[in-house]
Amino acid sequence: MDNTTQIVITAITLLGSAGIWKYAEARLRVKAELKKEEKSASDTVLYRDDLKKRVEEMDVALKEANKELLALTEKVAKLETENTFLRREIDILKSK
């Protein structure tokens, strides 16, 4: 087989192979995209996303409630101290 024939056969086959692969690759891409869309629209995924959203909301609410609880505890402590002092003053005034 001479060199020219080799080169011609190789070039034609390479172009053919590349063409076949481009076609197959495009089909695979389209299939993958469809699969991805189907997956994102399925009930299970929607339910999971909804659950994730709810967990995030509840986490935020829990943190806020913790802050509020801390502030309330602080206020109660202050009021208790005030109350103690006031009682003491009342006792002093009564004894006078």
């Binding site: 087989m1 060199n3 024939t5 080799q6 080169i7 056969i9 190789t10 034609i12 086959t13 390479l14 053919g16 192979s17 590349a18 076949i20 692969w21 197959a24 690759e25 695979l28 891409r29 993958a32 991805k36």
Partner: protein
């Protein structure tokens, strides 16, 4: 009559199940062992076989060794883009080999030459599997 119909339907069902499973394995199984085999065959078997049966063809035989070694390098590195590229090159070489054997008319001389067609299909299947893996990784 009814009994034989039932058996026939069962056998058909079993064949369908086997074919579906084979298709699944063919499409999604790990392709590294196939890639290594194809790369090894391309680097060693391809140049020797084509030299002995077709003759000296430097534009095919010498790059085939490099392509085989490149695919081995890519498989060892586990870079998916590199593996897709290398598999495409390997597929091209096997396709060139298959066409050269067709041009020479060897396929009508003996069935053992059909192995080149098998290797071409195998490399194409391997290429498709890796491409699917790449798309899967990119899509998350």
């Amino acid at each position: 009559m009814e009994r034989s119909k039932g058996r026939y339907a069962e056998a058909l069902k079993l064949v369908r199940k086997i074919l579906t499973q084979l298709k699944e394995v063919w499409q999604y199984s790990d392709s590294q062992p196939t890639e290594i085999t194809l790369a090894g065959a391309l680097a060693v078997l391809f140049p020797i076989a084509t030299y002995l049966e077709i003759g000296y063809a430097p534009i095919i035989q010498l790059p085939a060794i490099a392509a085989g070694l490149y695919q081995l390098y890519c498989v060892s590195g586990d870079c998916i883009n590199c593996r897709v590229r290398a598999s495409f090159i390997t597929f091209c070489f096997y396709a060139v080999g298959a066409v050269l054997y067709l041009y020479k008319g060897y396929y009508w001389q003996g069935a053992s030459y059909w192995g080149w067609i098998l290797l071409t299909f195998s490399s194409f299947g391997s290429l498709k599997r890796i491409k699917k893996e790449q798309l899967h990784r990119n899509n998350g």
